[in-house]
Amino acid sequence: MTAPPPLHVDRTPGSDLATDVVVDLSLEALEADPYPTYAWLRENAPVAYVPASGRVLVTTYALCEQAGVDDTVFEPAKGIFNDVYGEPNVISLNGSAHRDLRNAINPPFRPRAVAGYRETLLRATAARYVDAVAPLGRCEATSALLEPISQRAVGDVLGFTDVDDATLGRWFHDYAAYLVDFGRSSEVAARGRRAKADLLGYLDGRLDELAAAPDGSALSHMLHDGLPEGQVRPVEDLIGSIGVLVVGGFQEPAHGAANTLLGVLGRPDAAPGAGGQADRLRAEPAAWVTRCVEEGLRWLSPFGITEKVTVSDAVLGGLRFPAGTEVGLMIGSANRDPACWPDRPDVFDLDRPARTHVAFGYGTHFCIGHSVAKVLAQVVLEEMFSRLPNLRLDPDAEPVVHGWATRGATTLPLAWDA
């Protein structure tokens, strides 16, 4: 791990406002590798305003949890999600409006439901894509396997069964880029808005079909559930939440799997036959994938931040947050806090004592896709280790890990015996 650029805290004397504790960080430096900076922040300024992010960032496990479970004071941020997804959307709603919409989206995402399609939709999708690359002996796994599998499987759960892979990929990438751009590029914003317009155009026809003939998809439930017979929610009420599901739903499973693979295959003992942790996956994938995915989500959390805003005055870490303070709870940092994982938290290790990570957030807004993300990542890893003998990092190419608000192995060159 490289050292962070020189860091210092500027504190306004006599002030106890969180926004008067300033650490000037560049988003580009964070996107290259945030972890050394997180370690510095946890030690020196676990609550600090970072101007480039527009937010007070919270970096320790304890303080993130304290704010995260206090979700009637630290509510989900509204501005950023309303800008990117539009209003209403299931992240920036609260109270009974949130519950009603969330309950309408939930049915296909509950762990019970996901268990019901693990062996059918999820495994079949994973197997199909893995079989297609198996003769090649090598591939860039994120773009060739993990994102297509995730988009297809979650896309089908959502109800986009008639949308092709390329279109799903475009919606995902353009929305996701907009979400993490933090206003730096008007072109990125324009592309994000175009993705939303395309999605709206598609939904116009699709939702009419589902209004007449409900199926088990998330779109169908969102249209109908909780309303009197024959009544449906208008598309304007749903488009925001569908955007949320496109980004979260396509990204987390793909990057959860990619980050986990990088973790287990990137260990020094990972070569096939070396007897290291990766060999356990090669020998008995089904026995190890659950533990492996949990450690992967902790070690390299696909969402690094959960964005909040205070809706009343708050105090955290001895600093004041007046109502309206924009906050970032850095779950990527919390997941490497040595206060919780004292033994080399920056190392991927299947043998560390299991302790629940916070990659899916806190409270009422805890990720709706937590089960499908985990289960899909598990099934994908099982299929890859089962069908791709001696799966390993490609020795002739370098993985690339990028991002801060979301972070993933965006380039993951793998090789196997074909």
């Binding site: 479970v69 519950r99 969330r102 309950n103 939930n106 995402f109 509950r110 762990p111 019970r112 629940t356 899916f360 806190y362 409270g363 009422t364 805890f366 709706i368 937590h370 089960s371």
Partner: protein, 119 residues
């Protein structure tokens, strides 16, 4: 859930729950002034925590019974065995508090107190 009823004479009744409601009933109720959830599973009536042990979602709004004896919280899908309170499916990690209820004179009362019934 209030424990103050234990030790007093008479049994504590759960307010405002229809004891003839069917298996699968999940309702918010009041027990000795504290909010609780009352559930009828295939083995009988129980009183459990007001809120799921995962993220404090209220069972009265989000709870549903499956498989005869499983209480699911529809917020994030945690499931609990209504006979023991144990977690069957995460993300919850802490078991539910479960106390049996019995029907006395048409009312649901806490079933594990030693005193005689109220007049």
């Amino acid at each position: 859930m209030s424990a103050s009823a234990a030790g007093r004479t008479g049994r504590t009744a759960v307010a405002d729950v229809d004891a003839s409601a069917p298996v699968g009933t999940v309702v918010s109720a009041d027990l000795d002034g504290a909010p609780v959830t009352v559930v009828r599973h295939e083995g009988g009536w129980v009183v459990v925590d007001d809120e799921c042990t995962h993220a404090a979602c209220p069972f009265g709004a989000d709870g549903e019974v499956f498989d005869g004896h499983v209480l699911a919280c529809n917020c994030h899908g945690s499931e609990f065995d209504l006979r023991t309170g144990e977690v069957l499916l995460g993300p919850a990690e802490r078991a539910l508090t479960v106390r049996p209820l019995v029907v006395v004179d048409g009312r649901l009362v806490v079933g594990d107190e030693g005193a005689a019934g109220r007049s």
